[in-house]
């Protein structure tokens, strides 16, 4: 609380990003965890909550006639444009937010103060919900070829690896330790995925410390052991996900890649996925394009191209396809990049989604993220900028994984049990720090932070609310939910993910949602099934005992049978008047039009954080998302006076 210089500012304007003339006036509150904007207009009380931990940057711009602008960009791609009447207030808010959004110590993170109304026992159970051992059991492990190794039990062999790892049965501890000494950060080859059907495996590691000529007998034995654990194949792939040039450069500093001559029967392959710095810059460029106010088609497409973002997504998916095909053909693969926690995590998890239908289920995706990202030590603290650290360590590596899954969903609409909303929600909470799952860089750190004792788990929250996250087109016995997915990676198969990157620009999204429509239909179908059964029973009963009175039950059935015959769901649950208004089509020709009537805002209250829902209004499609809605009182080059009442036709014509 000591960082809050100013807890409350009145007469703040929240500007519409796409048309600044549309704005809402209200009071801005700063709390320990959120900035809250409460609209003060009579009639409705709309609130916009922004978690400090989601704030990515706060920019104060030069003061203008109508106030001092403050621009808040969030890690979930929300952008809030405030205008604060007094410059001093703006300055105070700016400094407060800057500090609040850049915690220095783990203890300051929201997950440690987030206390929903959940009993301690229940909270502890949350953490048992996703169990990696169970996933390896599901793969059929341990078995005669693969065993659980506790060599890293105390994080002594590799401090960024989990305590429990699966390794080939024949790999004795000295081999593991020896191999680990020949790999960056001690990250020796360990199992990521095992195919029960054909015994092929995906293993992952960091780069070997081979330099120009170094060798390591144990490392060679380790790879040999991996190869031998798949008796049906006489070779294995070693996939280096980096561009060849990057790998060669690493040799100069004593690292590098495997020499095919030193390892028996390996096929070595470079993949050309760029490093974290390229990815960070690429996303930055893409976001700049998304932020453009009224871009032409060319601005948008040129910007998208020059950002290189889709090219990188394609590179990740291409590699995932390569690995999944190899495994499907019965060939084991060892994957690494430099440290083996970024690109390696991406392509191993993408390959898993392609290979195994389980990872296309809701629970399966949670398990997969837990396995290949959380337990194998993806550096969430650095990559997601949870704490003030080196800005060069920030990179949207996991965003790219989620996007690959989304691209696959677009190609295989029936293959996934979960929907786009789940991916977006997971993305949001990776960055929100509301749950403990993504805190810290590895298992060891999370243990030290006692995350499992002090915080809540996202997975059980998602599971509790799973009705929202289910894809109505998914069927367990559908052909798309069986076996290997073979996506096309032709460039035209990749789309821009509007749902994530322009998530808060409501006006850009389809106004009716097929998915929500089908969900309503399915709910109704479910009720009908129940009625059908009860009717059948009753008929049987009636036929048997004609004279028995059935009045009461029958009447009940009748009431239950009245359905809303109109299941059309307007996207995002908005009423049509609000969700569907014209945009700025005029380019400033028509000076003004009648303003859209205000939506009856949902009466969200400044409530204590007693439930998941209220504590995170960003996800509830609440009234704060009005910003994307179209513009009627469009910017007019002819009438700069924004305070003038634009409501009458007269004003429209005279201004023109």
């Amino acid at each position: 609380m000591e960082h809050i210089r100013l807890p409350k500012v009145e007469n703040v304007r929240l500007l519409d990003r796409l048309s600044p003339r549309r704005s809402r006036v209200g009071t801005l509150y700063l709390t320990a965890t959120h900035s809250i904007f409460v609209e003060s207009e009579a009639g409705g009380r709309s609130e916009t909550w922004v978690l400090h931990s989601l704030v990515c940057s706060v920019d104060k711009q030069a003061a203008g006639a109508s106030g001092c602008p403050l621009l808040i960009r969030c890690k979930n791609f929300q952008i809030l444009h405030f205008s604060i009447p007094r410059e001093q207030d703006c300055q105070d808010v700016h400094l407060s937010l800057q500090r609040l959004s850049q915690p220095e110590r783990y203890e300051e993170l929201y997950c440690f103060s987030y206390k929903p109304n959940i009993h301690e026992e229940e909270r502890r159970r949350e953490w048992a919900f996703v169990d990696l051992r169970a996933d390896f059991r599901r793969m059929g492990l341990p078995n005669s070829q693969w065993k659980l190794s506790l060599v890293n039990q105390h994080y002594k062999v590799s401090d960024t690896y989990p305590a429990e790892l699966f390794v080939p049965e024949s790999a004795a501890p000295p081999v593991l330790v020896g191999s680990s000494k020949f790999r960056s950060r001690g990250r020796f080859p360990a199992l990521s995925y095992y195919s029960k059907e054909n015994h092929a495996a995906i293993c992952r590691s960091s780069q070997p410390l081979s330099g120009f000529s170094a060798r390591c007998l144990e490392d060679e034995q380790m790879l040999e052991a991996i190869l031998r654990s798949n008796p049906r194949s006489d070779f294995m792939y070693v996939v280096d996900t980096r561009p060849k040039l990057n790998a060669i450069a690493n040799r100069a500093v004593g690292k590098g890649y495997e020499n095919e001559d030193n390892y028996s029967n390996i096929k070595f392959q470079f993949m050309g996925i760029e490093n974290i710095h390229v990815m960070r810059n690429s996303q930055q460029k893409m976001l700049e394009v998304c932020e453009l106010r009224s871009p032409s088609m060319s601005d948008f497409l040129e910007g998208l191209e020059s950002s290189g973002w889709l090219k990188h997504i394609k590179a990740v998916l291409d590699t995932g396809v390569f690995i999944s095909k190899a495994v499907a053909e019965g060939v084991s693969v060892l994957v690494h990049c430099s440290d083996g926690w970024d690109r390696t995590a991406q392509v191993c998890s993408v390959a898993c989604v392609l290979l195994d239908p389980y990872y296309r289920t809701l629970k399966g995706l949670m398990v997969l993220i837990e396995k290949d990202w959380i337990s194998f030590g993806h550096k969430f603290t650095q990559r997601c900028n949870h704490l003030v650290r080196d800005p060069k360590e920030v990179s949207p590596i996991i965003d790219q994984f989620l996007e690959c899954v989304w691209q696959l969903m677009e190609q295989f609409p029936c293959a996934f049990e979960y929907n786009e909303r789940l991916l977006i929600t997971v993305h949001n909470h990776i960055y929100s720090c509301q749950f403990g799952n993504f805190i810290g860089n590895n298992q060891r750190e999370r243990g030290e932070l006692r995350v499992h004792e002090k915080t809540h788990s996202l997975w059980s929250y998602l599971w509790t609310n799973r009705a929202e996250f289910i894809n109505p087109l998914y069927r367990q016995n559908h052909s798309q939910s069986q076996g290997l997915l073979r996506p096309s990676t032709a460039p035209y198969c990749f789309k821009f993910w509007r749902g994530l990157y322009n998530r808060f620009d409501q006006g850009m999204h389809p106004r009716q949602s097929v998915e929500d429509y089908l969900r309503v239909i399915q709910e109704e179908t479910h009720q009908l099934e129940e009625q059908l059964d009860s009717h059948k029973q009753k008929i049987a009963q009636l036929e048997q005992e004609q004279e028995q009175e059935q009045d009461q039950v029958w009447n009940n059935a009748c009431t239950a049978a009245t359905f809303d015959k109109s299941p059309t769901v307007w996207a995002l649950g908005k009423d049509l008047a609000l969700a569907n208004t014209p945009q700025d089509y005029t380019g400033g020709f028509i000076a003004s039009s009648p303003r859209t009537p205000k939506a009856p805002d949902s009466p969200l209250i400044l409530a204590p954080q007693d439930s998941h829902q209220k504590a995170d209004p960003n996800l509830s499609n609440g009234s704060d998302q009005e910003s994307g809605i179209a513009d009627l009182s469009c910017r007019s080059p002819l009438s700069e006076d924004s305070t003038k009442d634009p409501d009458s036709d007269e004003a429209a014509y005279s201004a023109a």
């Binding site: 191209e305 090219k311 069927r475 460039p491 097929v514 009717h535 004279e547 059309t568 089509y585």
Partner: protein, 549 residues
């Protein structure tokens, strides 16, 4: 002329057919006057039945004594025929070339086609102007149906009957026609029931460089305004293009002469630019380089999506003027037969729920495209693969369909028809067994006696078995105005047309089937529950105990 003269080799055995996403088949290739047919030898079933008029261009390749003919179709499909024997191959190729480029309309297949189905409702009579006018009469008495053009002399590209303001007589119309491009005087396009505002369309005024004016024209246009009201003239061209048109005798309405009207210029490209855009887009979709940069830069360079955005934006603007500003609108470009129709027809999709039904959309195409004189024969003569230099060809109608698809994607529950219907219209506009899209205007169709000599596409479409395939299972009548987003992020490439033959649509088709299944199953249960409920009620009334109070 006899087709037989053009068919040098009517039949070749052992021809191998390659098609996208289908196994290759070997069979016998036959050429008839209108079709290229390949039937496989085993069971004599037809594997391919292709209209010559659907062929855009062909290429020949030879490897040893086997020649290949690559057939590129107007619907953007590319197939390959491997033909044994050099001479046969050359003969087939030159025959196809000759048969697919016949110039005479009366030799087209629709004049030879006999329907194999029962015509329930003759499509030629389904959308007559006098019937459409009856609907208008029920809403307003401010308009009349004029037959000033009954012998197509006042305006060649207009139908015999047009709706005009009631107090404007035919003599005035004739004078106005001399002041508008191709005689296209302002006529009623749409009446907005909600507020009585109207949309009109016309050709450009022939003001020329010295600012000619026409009192009758001003009178006609002003006659559509309510007292004290103003209107908007939407010129689909940029101000520069419109200025340049003056030098060729065209021009635009000056504010001085039309003080009650405000002119807005938009930037929809002329048809000649559009054909090149289509060719570039199709070329980009066929690029095999697998490079993301190349794909995006080619997509951008084609400008196709830019055209989509411009057209939709202009249509939205027209709709906004009518619905939100409560003003009447006049739309024109140069001729008034291309961009003008894109705008007026799309604005109606946005404003009028009736146009979003299957029948309503057919009516819209009939009114705003066929009867309004969009020159289909000239525009759809060639598609993206043609080797000959485009003359009058342009994908004006395809762009309209693409825009409708964009709105459909944004309002997936508000249209009674589905994407397949739009694709079907695209195919038939370019090559068809039906007479609907033959000719350039109503006068052409009358001269060719199309209603007597050919079958209407609507006769075929409006039968239960076809309608079922074209109906959107998600449809729920939505009586509201629908405002689409025109942000670049919201406008997508129409995969159903442009990637149709490049990538398998199996998984997307399965998703559609799954969706239909979910809805069908729900209906089925609904019916079952209802019948059980009736059964229950019956059982209960039979029960004497329940009937006595």
């Amino acid at each position: 002329m006899e087709f037989a003269e053009l068919i040098k080799t009517p039949r070749v055995d052992g021809v191998v057919l390659h098609r996208p996403f289908m196994p290759t088949v070997e069979g016998t290739l036959c050429l008839t006057g209108h079709h290229l047919i390949l039937s496989s030898r085993q069971d004599n079933t037809e594997e391919l039945w292709l209209l010559h008029s659907n062929i855009d261009s062909i290429e020949k390749r030879f490897v040893g004594s086997v020649g290949s003919v690559i057939v590129k179709c107007k619907d953007l499909r590319v197939i390959q025929l491997d033909i044994p024997g050099m001479e046969e191959c050359l003969n087939i190729a030159s025959s196809i070339e000759a048969l697919s480029t016949l110039d005479s309309v009366s030799l087209m297949y629709p004049f030879f086609y006999r329907p194999m189905f029962e015509v329930i409702e003759d499509g030629w009579n389904s959308f007559l102007p006098q019937d459409a006018f009856k609907d208008l009469e029920s809403m307003t008495d401010e308009w009349r149906l004029s037959d000033v053009n009954k012998d197509f002399t006042v305006c060649q590209s207009y139908p015999r009957l047009v709706a005009v303001p009631k107090n404007i007589d035919d003599d005035t119309l004739k004078k106005v026609a001399t002041f508008r491009h191709s005689g296209r005087f302002p006529v009623l396009s749409y009446y907005h029931k909600k507020n009585g505002m109207v949309m009109m369309r016309a050709g450009q005024p022939l003001t020329g460089t010295n600012g000619r004016r026409c009192k009758e024209d001003e009178k006609l246009i002003n006659a559509t305004l309510r007292p004290g009201k103003r209107g908007y003239i939407i010129d689909t061209r940029t101000i520069n293009v419109a200025q340049q048109a003056k030098a060729r005798g065209g021009g635009f309405e000056s504010e001085g002469n039309y003080p009650q009207w405000r002119r807005i210029h938009k930037a929809i490209e002329r048809y000649n630019v559009l054909q090149e855009s289509l060719i570039k887009l199709v070329e980009a979709c066929g690029d095999q380089s697998h490079s993301m940069d190349r794909w995006l830069s080619k997509l951008e360079a084609s400008n196709w999506q830019t055209h989509i955005k411009e057209i939709l934006t202009t249509a939205c603007l027209a709709a906004q003027c009518i619905d939100r500003e409560g003003a009447s609108v006049l739309v024109h470009g140069t001729e008034g037969t291309d961009s003008t129709l894109q705008v007026t027809s799309l604005a109606q999709i946005i404003l009028d729920p009736g146009c979003r039904t299957v029948k309503g959309f057919q009516g819209l195409v009939e009114r705003e495209w066929l009867q309004a004189g969009h020159p289909f024969r000239q525009r759809c003569g060639q598609s993206a693969y043609s080797n000959s230099k485009p003359r009058q060809e342009a994908p004006v109608f395809l762009l309209f369909l693409d825009c409708v698809w964009q709105i459909l994607r944004q309002f997936p529950c508000s249209f009674e028809f589905n994407e397949s219907f739009l694709v079907l219209l695209f195919e038939h506009a370019y090559a068809s067994q039906f007479g609907t899209f033959l000719g350039n205007c109503a006068a052409d169709r009358a001269r060719l006696s199309l209603p007597e000599k050919t079958v209407s596409l609507w006769s075929w479409v409006n039968r239960p078995q076809e309608l079922e395939r074209l109906t959107n299972p998600l449809y729920e009548a939505n009586s509201l105005v629908i405002w689409p987003s025109v942000a670049p992020q919201s406008l997508l490439l129409w995969e159903g047309v442009f990637l149709r033959w490049n990538r398998s649509s199996k998984c997307l088709d399965e998703a559609y089937d799954e969706m239909v299944h979910i809805i069908e199953y729900n209906k089925e249960l609904q019916n079952k529950v209802n019948s059980l409920r009736r059964q229950l009620a019956q059982l209960e009334t039979e029960d004497p105990l329940l009937n006595t109070p």
